[in-house]
Amino acid sequence: MTTVPHTDTAQPPRPRRPFPLGRLFAYLGLALIILISLFPIWIVLKTALTPTRALFTEAASLWPSEPTLINFRRVLGLVTLEEAQAAGGSGSAVNFLNAMRNSLIFTGLIVVGQTFFSAMAAYAFARLRFPGRDVIFTLFLIAMMIPGIVLFIPNFITIRNLGWLNTIPGMVAPFVLMTPFAVFFLRQFFLSLPRETEEAAVIDGAGPFTIFWRITLPMSQGPLATLAILTAIGMWNEFFWPFLIAKDEASYTLPVALQVFRTQTPQGVPDWTGLMAGTFVAAVPVFLLLVFLGRRVVESLAFSGTK
């Protein structure tokens, strides 16, 4: 390595440094990893672009020989039933816009509710003093160990008795208040916040809610955003509970609506091309969410990591 003379007014062109080989390898490695992680998404898209007839015979090729948009148009309900069937599609139609709207409401309510209420609970566990606090928190942690599947039946019966089948309240009820994980996650973060700020606020006359609302929450944007994004992704893809509650087509969320492309006859195969087109379109909102808010997640992870 030659040392470059360093003067503020140096005009002569700098000798070009050779591109460091190590960095080249690092970029190649990164590119490879990106390719590998994008590959499944490409397969989804490729399948969605393949005509149904060619699906199985072209399974091994990376590019459809006759790409078509018919599958996307089928999913969005832009073709007639006859056209859809002629394209090898399902005899049932998906009301895509309605399902998209239901999914947005379902996910939105849960993300807002779960993040806010879990933050309140976590704050109570982290900062307030009340009898039995640690016992209750232990019970909370134990609740994390109960597999969700055993809760389905009691939850379902409760919702039925409330008369909330086919309704948004029925669909969001088990998720909207809190999950033990979210409370645990936020409590750990709140515990790490400097107490001095809050003590100063107390001296200034702030009560617990003011402290929570005006100090703790603004200081925790990163973790809150992380939680909100994780919840949003999870709920956007949630299938089983909405499937149990939404019996009527008008209340289907996207994953439930897309089931018309799943297995039909017992020995038949799913309508893969339609299913993949639907899945791809359904994944777009989550993708946008990550594009716009992903930086927040990275920041919050970096923040909690270097603390």
Binding site: F56, A59, G91, L165, K247, V260, T265
Partner: protein
């Protein structure tokens, strides 16, 4: 006395609710059939302007979850397409309306269907459904691959099978199987570890009834699933059964002529056939339209091979429509079921060719519809008409448990982890213990 009271209560409910406009919920699982039944529903509403039918389709795997939770929650559909593997349990839990008294009241003929179909839906003198369609099993073949191997469709018409050497059926499978060097399965140079094209594929379906997988083999050895409809004694320990299952497993394990259990599980059901990598597959008549219209090669239909008893035998299965006891529109529901089972609706469905209707004249319309597209589906109908050509679906209580036991046992055989003769006896004892 109590029964009489509920009956009169039901009847008064029937007569009083008739005048108001009602919307019936009707569920089915096959999206391919939905347009045909929608047409039936439209015709039905034209005749009964006060009743509209709302059809909902749910995929096979989710359908039964939705129906069962619907019973519990009071949101099950008024009328739904029912399957023989599920109706006994529903009937036992008193979820289905006994159609018997209604049939008697309205003098509905139950002898207009293919013989045996209507009988499938009765239990202890009660009737839980009226037949809508039937299905039998046959061989679907890839006509291009057949021609490439120098075989003609007629060569598949009279195959014979036996569990010792597989007969001409196995030889045909071998002729249609090729390794990567191009040797077929009959050649001594055939390399079973590098197969490029299989002659046959079975979906394995390691379940309790083997409808499209093995039941058409086992039946020709004289073997029966159990001692009759709602049987309580099973015969999975019979040596004829073990021999047949072992033969099927060995087609892969020893000969390499069919894809392995793992391969079929991983790629799903019949996808190697769809990909043009397997020349023949056995499947039910409900797949006619799917195979003949949605694949990029010509698919033909051939009859099943004849077995040791000299006949070909297919399982005879049929679907029916059932009314849920919790339906608030019992009268309208009964009208709709009656219409679905009538010649008028079955003709409508038959003309689309999407299934083979339960009434013979409507079935002829379906066969004609296939013929117009250049597909000969008469094989399925001939099988249903042939003397001793069919045996009934083994309807059973505790179907789910029997299925669990047999699935895990047969999987071990198909995977080569156990010999059929060694493990089927135990499995049969477990199955029979369910009925004690």
């Amino acid at each position: 006395m109590k029964k009489l009271l509920t009956l009169t209560a039901a009847l008064t409910a029937l007569t009083s609710s008739a005048s108001a406009a009602t919307t019936l919920q009707y569920w089915l699982w096959d999206a391919n059939q939905q347009p045909a039944y929608q047409q039936c529903a439209n015709n039905f509403t034209r005749k009964n302007p006060d009743i509209t039918v709302k059809i909902t389709q749910k995929g096979w795997n989710d359908y039964w979850t939705a129906i069962t939770t619907g019973f519990v929650s009071g949101t099950a559909p008024d009328v739904f397409t029912n399957h023989l593997a599920y109706f006994p349990e529903f009937a036992r839990n008193n979820q289905l309306v006994d159609l018997g008294p209604l049939i008697k009241r309205d003098k509905v003929a139950t002898n207009i269907y293919y013989p045996g179909l209507a009988q499938l839906w009765t239990k202890d003198g009660k009737r839980y459904g009226l037949p809508k369609d039937f299905d039998t099993v046959a061989i679907f073949y890839n006509a291009d691959l057949l021609a490439k191997a120098g075989l003609k469709p007629a060569d598949l018409a009279n195959l014979t099978w036996n569990p010792r050497d597989g007969g001409t059926w196995q030889r045909t499978i071998a002729r249609l199987t090729f390794d990567k060097q191009g040797n077929n399965g009959l050649s001594p140079k055939f390399n079973k570890r590098q197969v490029a094209q299989y002659g046959y594929m079975t979906p394995y379906g390691a379940g309790f009834n083997g409808q499209t997988e093995w039941a058409f083999y086992t039946a020709t050895t004289g073997w029966k699933h159990n001692n009759g409809l709602f049987g309580t004694k099973y015969n999975y320990d019979d040596p004829r059964f073990a021999q047949t299952i072992q033969w099927l497993a060995d087609l892969n394990l020893k000969q390499g002529l069919i894809p392995s259990f793992q391969e079929v599980q991983a790629s799903g059901g019949d996808s190697l056939f769809r990909a043009g990598k397997a020349a023949m597959v056995t499947n039910g008549s409900w797949m006619i339209s799917d195979y003949t219209t949605k694949l990029p090669f010509k698919v033909g239909i051939a009859p099943l091979p004849k077995g040791p008893d000299g006949t070909r035998k297919s399982m005879f299965n049929g679907l029916a429509d059932s009314i849920w006891v919790g339906s608030k529109n019992q009268d309208a529901a009964w009208k709709w079921v009656k219409y679905l089972a009538s010649a008028e609706c079955q003709n409508t469905v038959g003309r689309t060719g999407v299934v083979l209707p339960a009434i013979p004249s409507a079935t002829n319309l379906a066969v004609a519809a296939h013929k117009a597209r250049g597909v000969d589906s008469s094989v399925f109908v001939n099988q249903a008409k042939a003397k001793n050509g069919t045996f009934l679906f083994p309807i059973t209580d505790a179907a789910a448990q029997v299925n669990d036991i047999m699935t895990s046992t047969m999987q071990r055989v198909f995977l080569g982890q156990a010999k059929a003769a060694d493990v089927l006896g135990d499995a049969n004892a477990k199955v029979n213990a369910l009925f004690k």
